[in-house]
Amino acid sequence: MTVITVKYFGRLTDITGLSEENITVGEQSIIESIETQIIEKYTDLKNEIYVLFLNRNKVQDKTTRLKQADELCLMPPFSGG
């Protein structure tokens, strides 16, 4: 059983009602499948623009496999400064 932490930022926290949660994923799960799972749970995310970060690195390849204790972040466009 692999448990990862998913974190949401900015306006995405309004849609999910959370800033973070732990998700149990299958052994061979890839980022793309977990993203699909998240969107199925929070359907309004489908209309949102966001970037994914895995363990503090911007995701370039959504076929990357997830491991125990990975941190996946969904970030909408930045609005600091």
Partner: protein, 140 residues
């Protein structure tokens, strides 16, 4: 060359300190203050912005940009502070300060750093209105 590069998040508003003496290697200092404007959106006035961030990713992204700009413009120093939490209209939430030998580098580095920060550092602002409602800030 020893460049002073420093970024920090501050809880609440940023307070400004100035110094009256500079290093003899510095000829130009340029500063930018970002402060909270009481914008009117749909007839509601912004009274505060509440900032959140992924601190670790933000720090890595910001230092990467700062180091790159410091080398590009041969800066003596580059200092950034950004607020987290609630900052009221009129208060300062963002400070960028650069020092260099000459003014052209200082002006150019300052503008580039502010623009890069707004585009690439994961900080998020919630604009809070007087009636308690809010909307998520969008940078342009």
């Amino acid at each position: 060359m020893n460049i002073n590069v420093d970024f920090s998040f501050i809880q609440g508003p940023v307070h400004i300190r100035t110094e009256n003496e500079k290093s003899p290697k510095v000829g130009a200092t340029a500063e930018f203050y970002g402060s909270i404007r009481a914008d009117s959106i749909d007839n509601k006035v912004v009274i505060a912005i509440e900032f959140t961030a992924h601190k670790e990713i933000a720090e890595e992204a910001c230092y990467s940009i700062m180091n790159s700009i410091a080398l590009k413009y041969k800066l003596n120093s580059i200092i950034i502070k950004h607020s987290l939490g609630k900052v009221l209209a009129g208060q300062i939430c963002f400070l960028v300060k650069v020092e260099s030998a000459h003014r052209k580098a200082a002006f150019a580095a300052l503008e580039e750093m502010v623009d890069e920060f707004k585009e690439k550092v994961p900080v998020f602002g919630k604009e809070i209105f007087e009636n308690g409602s809010y909307t998520w800030k969008q940078n342009n």
